[in-house]
């Protein structure tokens, strides 16, 4: 699955400049294209989520460490950042607002150094269990120490302090976005650079085969511990930026739901590739902000998508993209396009049927007072009438049937192409 990319990478040094230039350009152009304050709030959140997801993937994708409690480090970073911001507001500390996220990062590093020392003693299932425990521990602390965590109301702050420096007050959202974009770019570059160092490579080795690592001179615990601290640092930066962005920090930022979201979306984006979590972060914000506006059943949809991904594309979106890129490089992408078209159509039909049923069910359960009629994709459905249900079921069965029928033919085509590519690679090597 990840076979071709590893051998591709070193051969395109020019590509690196293009990719990083492109990334910077996207960060710079995005707020120009989407100028509404809602869009800019979302972009800011995406920038923060990118740092958090990439930090999480140092553990999951690069180190093979399944953490259920990484929100602890981003969340504690948020809290220390907002307290720092309030100290600056009160005049008891002189620190530029733009450096407050760094305080979050150092807090994340500190707590990762303390808590991670215990966590990284173990790997595998034990590691996962300890992270779960630490997560619950910190969450319960948030209820016990309201002075620090602010109880139910959280801790609020004000990022606009004193006179403008070079016209920057961090009042307007665009100025905060700019700060976030800069942190996002630098953090991404640093985390990518880490993957190219001895520690980064040994972290991959520990993921693949911790036992063998011990026999080539490395202490696997120490490798995990160092990676955990680096991950905690960047998670803390994301947390600090979050504190500046929202100007309020509540206890849920250290909670299990947030930790779960990191895991889920990094997985959806694709943990096996460096850029996977970036896609995951974009999806995360879109799902949490837009999808939750669109439908009450958004968590259900999310769960379904996650399940389908785990079963059919365990490498996430990134691996799907890379697989098709491989086809494109060998000039064979055109042959799968008709298949994609049919499968996509079938998928949309099935999804429409399923979504209509889910929405009618939710409507009956939650909006019964509004009567049985409801709008769905421009049609009026009657959640208590048979025709609507029959129609939805028909769509689902038709779509799913068509999908399954065409899928077999498609996987044959895919298999043939994969073989052709293998042969092509062998031929090139023989030259």
């Amino acid at each position: 699955m990840s076979l071709p990319t590893l051998s591709f990478r070193p051969r395109f040094p020019v590509g690196a400049w293009l990719v990083w230039g492109g990334f910077a350009a996207v960060l710079a152009i995005a707020p120009v294209l989407w100028t509404s304050s809602f869009a800019q709030t979302m972009l800011s959140q995406i920038g923060i989520a990118i740092i958090a997801c990439l930090a999480y993937n140092i553990l999951l994708g690069q180190g093979g460490m399944l953490s259920f409690g990484h929100a602890v480090y981003s969340g504690l970073g948020s809290f220390l950042a907002i307290h720092t911001l309030n100290m600056v507001s009160a005049g008891s500390l002189a620190l530029p607002v733009s450096l407050v996220p760094l305080v979050g990062g150092l807090s994340g590093l500190f707590f990762a150094a303390v808590l991670g020392w215990v966590t990284t003693k173990k790997s595998g299932t034990t590691f996962a269990m300890i992270t779960l425990g630490v997560g619950e521990l910190v969450w319960s602390m948030s209820l016990m120490i309201p002075e620090f965590f602010g109880g139910e109301g959280g801790i609020s702050g004000n990022r606009v302090l004193g006179p403008a420096i070079f016209g920057i007050t961090f009042g307007p959202q665009i100025q905060v976005y700019t700060l976030i974009a800069i942190y996002c770019f630098i953090s991404t570059a640093l985390m990518y650079a880490m993957t190219l160092t001895p520690l980064g490579r040994m972290l991959n080795a520990v993921r693949d085969n911790p036992e063998r690592v011990e026999f080539i001179g490395y202490d696997t615990q120490k490798v995990r511990y160092l990676a955990f601290m680096i991950s905690g640092f960047f998670a803390g930066i994301a947390g600090g930026l979050g504190a500046l962005n929202f100007e309020i920090v509540t206890a849920e930022v250290v909670g299990a739901a947030r930790s779960g979201a990191y895991l889920l979306f990094v997985f959806l984006g694709g943990a096996t590739f460096f850029f996977g979590p970036i896609l995951g972060a974009v999806l995360m914000v879109i799902a949490l902000v837009l999808l939750s506006e669109l439908t009450n059943a958004w968590l259900l949809y999310l769960g379904l998508v996650f399940m389908l991904m785990v079963v059919y594309a365990p490498g996430g979106l990134a691996s799907l993209i890379m697989m098709n890129l491989r086809l494109a490089v060998f000039g064979k992408l055109r042959r799968v396009l008709p298949g994609y078209l049919v499968l996509g159509l079938a998928g949309v039909i099935a999804l429409t049927g399923a979504a209509a049923m889910i929405e009618m069910l939710y409507h009956l359960q939650l909006n019964a007072a509004l009567g049985p009629k409801m709008g769905f994709l421009g049609v009026t459905l009657d959640a208590q009438a048979a025709p609507s249900w029959v129609g939805a079921v028909t769509l689902l069965v038709l779509g799913a049937g068509l999908f399954e029928w065409r899928r077999r033919g498609f996987s044959r085509v895919w298999g043939t192409i994969a073989e052709e590519i293998e042969r092509e690679i062998k031929r090139r090597e023989a030259l």
Binding site: S2, L3, L6, S7, P10, A193, M194, L196, T197, P198, L199, G200, R201, M202, N204, A205, R207, D208, N209, E211, R212, V213, E214, F215, I216, G217, Y218, D219, K222, V223, L226, I230, E429
Partner: protein, 279 residues
Amino acid sequence: MDTLQNPHQTKPGQPEFAVELLDVHKQFGKTQIIRGAQLQVRPGERVAIIGPNGAGKSTLFNLISGRFGLTSGQIRLNGQRIDGLTPFEINRRGLSRSFQVSNLFTRLSVFENIRCAVLWSMGYQYAFWKFLSKLHDANERAEQVLRMLKLERRRDHLAMNLTYAEQRALEIGITIAGGSDVILLDEPTAGMSKSETTRFIQLILDVTAGKTLLTVEHDMGVVFGLADKIAVLVYGEVIAYDLPEAVRANPRVQEAYLGSVLADQQVASQQAAEQAAGH
């Protein structure tokens, strides 16, 4: 090579034995696996450890390399005690081992596998402020090992996509890449065909030239091809340790072991066939 011809000559200041096992015991629960094993290997010697199935050969390797702790006794590497140390501490003192079942970094390329094995010995430790691509000495060493293994053309393939024989070669490559003086090979040719085995013995001789070598082997052809001394392990004890001819003539060995050699070899070749079929 003079280390081979004069194995008993040691340079002044150099410890007399590269590897020394003194009354080593190992118990799992109430089962005694190793019972007072004694072995003294001089620097540069090549020793094959043979013995019937269940004699404790692999356990002995696991004890020497730090994978398991001893129940009692001492193990010394170049005169210094290493029992009780972790595998990575023992590796840093100059001992490296291979595994019976290939133990690779499956999702890394062949080159990366070898470079990982080089990094510690070159002093790069846990550095996260240096780019791998700038570590010219480590990269050169990794390329050199790649050439010795004749795996240059597989350089950028993932380890999991190699053929069985190539994986065995990479297994040896990871073991020797760090430049350890003492090399332990656990059934290096297990599961290989006859012709592959012959080529592979030459490869092992090449990459371990001048080093102290301990191997566990079932295949007598490999034993005579690789070793200049043989240690016979039976029920956790070294009952003979000498030159091959002397071991063969030893009545205790004949009585305790050689009778079962044929049966044992049959089992081994069956296992090999099954393994090969599995791959």
